[in-house]
Symmetry: C2
Subunit: 400 residues, 2 copies
Amino acid sequence: MSDSRVITPGFHGPRISTRGQLIEPFYAVAIFREAMEMAHEGRSIFMSVGEPDFPTPARVVGAAVAALRRGETHYTVPTGIPELRRAIARQYQERYGVTVPAERILVTVGASGALALTFGVLAEPGDEFLMADPGYPSNRALMTFCGASANLVPVGAAERFQLTAELVDRHWTPTTRGVMVASPANPTGTTIPDAELRAIHDVVRARGGTLIVDEIYHGLTYDSTPQTGAALGDDVFVVNSFSKYYCMTGWRLGWMVVPEPYFDAVERMSQHMFIAPPAPSQWAGVEALAPESTAIYERQREELHRRRDFVVPALSAIGLEVACKPDGAFYVYVDCSAHTHDTWHFVRDLLHATGVAVTPGRDFGQHRASEFLRISYTCPLPQMEEALGRIASFVEGRRK
Amino acid sequence: MSDSRVITPGFHGPRISTRGQLIEPFYAVAIFREAMEMAHEGRSIFMSVGEPDFPTPARVVGAAVAALRRGETHYTVPTGIPELRRAIARQYQERYGVTVPAERILVTVGASGALALTFGVLAEPGDEFLMADPGYPSNRALMTFCGASANLVPVGAAERFQLTAELVDRHWTPTTRGVMVASPANPTGTTIPDAELRAIHDVVRARGGTLIVDEIYHGLTYDSTPQTGAALGDDVFVVNSFSKYYCMTGWRLGWMVVPEPYFDAVERMSQHMFIAPPAPSQWAGVEALAPESTAIYERQREELHRRRDFVVPALSAIGLEVACKPDGAFYVYVDCSAHTHDTWHFVRDLLHATGVAVTPGRDFGQHRASEFLRISYTCPLPQMEEALGRIASFVEGRRK
């Protein structure tokens, strides 16, 4: 990926669209590639990737295999198979006590697909959406794809790296079309308290905008269990995924809860962009939602909980400040300002010196991005201990 | 799907984006749904769907199962696994004698994903692309998604329903950014002769535009074997798919050949819209390209060839004119103007009277769309004979 992306249009040269020039890469991918090359030397420890290290449970894989063997290799209906839509609806009832009709649930090609459709149906060129900075990079990129833009609101440890109702109200402008929040969030692992999310929704509704809640990391929380945004009202877009809690990143399966007046338009766009989500993945998804699978997932959540409780104090102990203790996902957003004001180079130096891959803050926005890095606790505890030891030596070495 | 899609924006009501209002549904899906409901009564015969009736071959399924069993359930690299990119590159060499470096091949979530990325990287809002009318509906829809538009060029049996170099040159305007052709085409099943495609490319290049060639139905040709658009030059975008020849619709797997100067931008957009294509599908794709699989696919192609040779004269015999004999894909575009000027209602009447599902012309554009319908020869010969008999009675009944 070159850094010189803005190419002068020429009549006979390549003419890359404005969106094609503006959209930034995932910097994590560049780090991952470098780390992969080093992996051949057997040294790398990956704490950079946004996916659990657990494979998909065998019983979930088994459901896909059974579906394939019985010939489920054709297009499904565009909205997703009824079995899966019903299972998702049932989960809203059982886990959250919220009634979400299956007719409002659209199964998507990952949460990425859900985000593209959500922004696609809401964002008019020139619109802006309020989002926390730091935040998930694809939200900004997909806004750009649609000709809209993110109005990035700087947030810090004081706000637990999250928007508040007060911030939303203060930053609202005449071109603000809506607000996007993520709880738990990437890269910070923090959640929004239920009452605050309700207050945000009230402000958005009073302003006549639309609230989008990213719940991709729901299920992976360690101190409390947040309510779903779908409980706030039937005007909220909720985006979710089988990737994280359900350990199904490679299957590309997600879903969205769509306000009824938008459903028809979202479905039409989905037909053309995706036709339908992958068939074997959908049958695996049904099994992932079965109670027998929940027991497996809850054990994995407990393991992540243990890792969080290890890594946060361990980072502080080596002088890497965790200003805001994460309560969800599998990320720690680390303030490195005592050590560097250029985490992009810090991260690459760390990788080459120690083989430990972490993600630079620049993936997640502009606000103090060069002073932060993200650590994923997605490797087993013994490896994490080894990694923390190497990071400690690296930091110590830089001090000298 | 409602027909009243344009909703007046209200400050507190839903505000659907312009693209969300403009993009039309697949009308074939509505027909499919109605036919599915009737299927429970055991009468329906599907000649409406854009996918082969053959399931994915067992050896291809087996490769996915093996991959899943060995834990290939994580994200792959965004560009697609190297094994698959190399296998696709090898096929360009072996099948077409054309060198396409694996580095220019991007594996995508179906050809739909490839189309979204192609238009995304090329189309600036306000741009227009020349396309044949009739043509594949998603091309228009995805252009709309990007704020660009299709400049639909009416084509008929005289041009074998395809653009020509002369038509491209004649319809070029100051806002034309490029040309999209499909060979073999949906809904007409016709190919563009190699020399004509070369001439189109020459015109596009002289005009400083970009040529996109949809080769989704490559492999499924019955009278000749077309050359790939990738042979014309390294400035051509080629879109392809595992869905049709490889019978993998439900796996959502495609690819594109990207001109080198655009690759970086396409990859960046792809990371955010898709992260990566489905992992099990990619391993299945590698097996689909193996020589042992080709033997299976070629037998299926021969079966489709037999069906084509049955259905075209059979339609003519019952007074449904096939003005232009298709030489590829699995479609016949039927001129019904002797019987109706409203194939949307004709198709639904046919379905309800006989249980035979076909697709109305309105899915494919405006040019004489209400006088045409599309038949897919994606059911076995005995069923097709039965269907043709029912259609004959229906047409006969309307005459009285």
